[in-house]
């Protein structure tokens, strides 16, 4: 049996395609039908997008979509914030590459990153132009994108040279930036106050989502611990809370927050309705995050807590250092899933009259000039939401693999 030297052949792409699409007669029929449908849909879409759609509705209202009625003379604050965000993003991104998780190789521009940078570049160049923004604003976007890439490059290149003590502080950048961002957005500390009722569009959506995500997480962890607690009162309290929230549609809870919160607090103490909605979102999401975290807690064997206790760790110490790190790792995908649906749920704010992205869209479409331009606006919103949610999902998967290079399923040889 004189066989040839080990030869690696892959079926040619064409042949593979043929096999995938026309493996059997039924498959062939299905493929043809699907291809025809896809083609028709694509044709229809492009005809609409190129000849019928009127994108002016977006360019004319781009500011409204971006920040709502944020006072024009104060918008420099948002530009500043965007610039800071871009810097922080570039810095963190570069440092992630400079210190890849164990097992991964360090490369200044891995393939994914080149893709991301290219997409970013194209978006930054093309989007502002497509929206027919003024040249000054276009230039700002180019500058910000350039800054991001520059920070990314610098951090990736010189990151390893940063002393370790200093590097530890870099994750703190984000909470700090959040606080700075809140001050920049709402005013105070010498800045003119801009009340929440003036925030709108993307700004409001992002603000609501991040606020709720940041707060619902610790709350959810507490609830999950409560639900697993041996103390009956804590356990039943958590169970009742979680099940009550999960049994009710979010819109009824938002409605409740808007209509009844005013009765529950002495006059004047009730927070602004924007904040009211934000709190309702937070409390709502907390119940779901609690369930996600609980599934992680269940996955941690009871022996872990026992071992920690027998080593003298108090219960809080054991939770923080032993149980939660393991539980949260397991719960990560489900938790991020909840964050994604929370981001989607911010659209419900439009049903209670807040001007989030969807609410802004509805306002814009009440403008006589743009009546009936539904499809264009909704399409863009859909793409926007889709990209954000998909990015969150991708990020969570990346984080998962990064956290888990040493899974217990890889025993030593």
């Amino acid at each position: 049996m004189a066989s040839t030297a080990p030869l690696v052949v892959r079926a040619s792409p064409l042949r593979r395609l043929q096999k995938e699409l026309f493996g059997s007669r039924l498959d062939g029929l299905i493929s043809i039908a699907l291809l025809a449908a896809l083609l028709a849909a694509a044709l229809g879409f492009f005809r609409w997008a190129l000849f019928q759609a009127q994108w002016a509705v977006l360019s004319a209202n781009s500011t409204l979509f971006a920040v709502g009625r944020y006072p024009v003379e104060q918008q420099w604050r948002l530009w500043l914030l965007t610039t800071l965000l871009a810097l922080a993003t570039g810095l963190s991104w570069g440092l992630l590459r400079a210190f890849p998780g164990s097992g991964a190789v360090r490369a200044l521009w891995p393939r994914n990153d080149r893709w991301a940078a290219a997409i970013l570049g194209v978006l930054a160049l093309w989007r502002p132009m497509a929206l027919q923004l003024t040249l000054a604003i276009q230039a700002r976007w180019w500058g910000i994108a350039g800054l991001l890439l520059l920070a990314r490059w610098a951090a990736g290149r010189y990151g390893p040279a940063i002393p370790q003590a200093f590097r530890r502080l870099i994750p703190l950048l984000w909470p700090l930036l959040y606080l700075v961002g809140m001050v920049l957005i709402s005013g105070g500390l010498g800045l003119v106050q801009v009340p929440p009722s003036e925030w709108g569009g993307l700004l409001l959506t992002v603000l609501m989502a991040t606020f709720a995500i940041l707060l619902c997480f610790p709350l959810g962890v507490l609830l999950a611990l409560g639900r697993r607690s041996e103390l009956p009162l804590l356990r039943w309290g958590s169970v009742i809370y979680i099940e009550f929230i999960r049994g009710a549609p979010l819109i009824t809870l938002l409605f409740l927050g808007q209509n009844i919160l005013g009765f529950l607090l002495p006059g004047g103490l009730a927070p602004d309705r924007v904040w009211r909605a934000a709190w309702v979102l937070t409390f709502f999401a907390a119940a779901y995050v609690a369930e996600a975290v609980r599934s992680g807690l269940v996955a941690v064997p009871a022996g872990q807590l026992e071992a920690a206790r027998s080593l003298g760790l108090s219960v809080p110490l054991a939770l923080v250092h032993v149980v939660l790190p393991q539980a949260l790792r397991v719960a990560l995908p489900a938790t991020v899933g909840q964050f994604i649906s929370l981001l989607q749920d911010t659209t419900l704010l439009s049903l209670i009259g807040l001007l989030d992205l969807l609410g802004t869209a509805r306002t814009v479409m009440a403008n006589p000039m743009f009546l009936g331009k539904n499809a264009e606006v909704y399409l863009v919103l859909a793409i926007l939401f889709w990209s954000c949610c998909a990015a969150l999902g991708l990020g969570s998967r990346a984080l998962e693999t990064r956290l888990n290079p040493h899974s217990p399923s890889a025993p030593q040889a």
């Binding site: 995938e20 804590l234 309290g237 819109i251 009765f263 607090l265 006059g267 499809a375 909704y378 919103l381």
Partner: protein, 320 residues
């Protein structure tokens, strides 16, 4: 550890400490709840809105668009809310069936030998789950369904007419520019149902996919070696086993579909939430309306859970 000569201070006693912690938590919760309730009572008394249910018997004064229960403006509020509830149930039940069928099809399509179908199934799931349902509902209603032709231009098939005003079955006829038929579904219902089905199906598809993937590969191989064609294998061998994993996953998807049906307001369908909103606005009875609303959804959830738990018992039993 019964009698001790020296007394352990309570703050270090592991027997009492848990109760102290609980007591403290209970106290805090109690104080907060009491504070809120007093305010509620004070505020409601001040506005003359103390809990009362007699308004439920007063005539509603508004009409509802589509109801199965006959309704007109002279009937009392409770009838209006009941009509809304029935509409909610109608869309939930239809949605459950539709989403299950579509979701199962898409879930199984991701195991197809046809690469295109497989990828499209993935794309469907990834696209649909990442776009807010509310946006999708508004899209279906304002962009798709309201773009249907009307009157004489409506899509006509034997025994079926699809027009801007709805889907007409039976023997539809055009009376005075308006389609009439024994069986009709409005576009509001259609848009809500389509949105819910399309959205929930993406999640159900994932559940089904997970369930099928949980069946060992050897089961497919054994069936193939016995000469089973793929579809028969799926139906007789794989799906029955996958159900064990699928049914609990379906439960939560069903519940979220029921809750999501409350987004009906976005496309003009008169469901329970929409009627409640109108009622609240006409009567000012915020607390009572909220209680009815939350209670109703809770009951719907519980019923779905109970049914699915029963079903779960059945599919798990088949194992032994």
């Amino acid at each position: 550890m019964t009698s001790r000569s020296e007394v352990t201070p309570w703050w270090r006693n592991r027997r009492y400490l848990p109760w102290l912690v609980q007591g403290a938590v209970a106290l805090v919760i109690g104080v907060v709840v009491a504070f809120l309730l007093t305010n509620l009572l004070l505020n409601l008394t001040a506005r003359g809105l103390l809990l009362s249910w007699s308004w439920l018997g007063q005539p509603a004064g508004f009409d509802l668009a589509e109801t199965i229960l006959p309704f007109d403006a002279s009937l009392p509020y409770w009838r209006a809310m009941l009509a809304g509830l029935v509409n909610t149930l109608r869309v939930v039940i239809a949605g459950l069936v539709g989403a299950t069928v579509l979701g199962t099809l898409i879930g199984t399509a991701s195991f197809s030998s046809n690469g295109l179908l497989r990828r499209l199934a993935r794309v469907y799931v990834e696209v649909i789950r990442n776009i807010p349902l509310l946006l999708q509902l508004i899209f279906w209603y304002f962009v798709v369904f309201l773009a249907l032709p009307n009157g004489r231009d409506a899509l006509q098939l034997p025994g079926l007419v699809l027009a801007k005003s709805g889907l007409f079955l039976g023997s539809p006829e055009l009376v005075d520019g308006v389609w009439q038929a024994p069986l009709r579904f409005t576009v509001e219902f259609g848009a809500l149902l389509t949105g819910l089905v399309v959205y929930t199906a993406a999640f159900i598809a994932e559940v089904v996919r997970g369930g099928i993937a949980s069946v060992p590969k050897g089961q497919w191989e054994a069936a193939t070696s016995l000469g089973f064609p793929p579809l028969l294998t799926l139906r007789r061998i794989v799906l029955p086993q996958a159900l064990r994993v699928i049914v609990p996953g379906l439960n939560s998807q069903y519940i979220s579909l029921a809750k999501n049906s409350s987004l009906a307001v976005a496309c003009g369908f008169t469901d329970l939430y929409s009627v409640s909103e109108t009622t609240l606005n006409q009567t000012g009875r915020a607390i009572e309306v909220m209680l009815i609303l939350l209670g109703s959804y809770l009951v719907i959830d519980l019923v779905i859970s109970a049914l699915m738990n029963g079903l779960n018992g059945l599919v798990q039993l088949r194992e032994r």
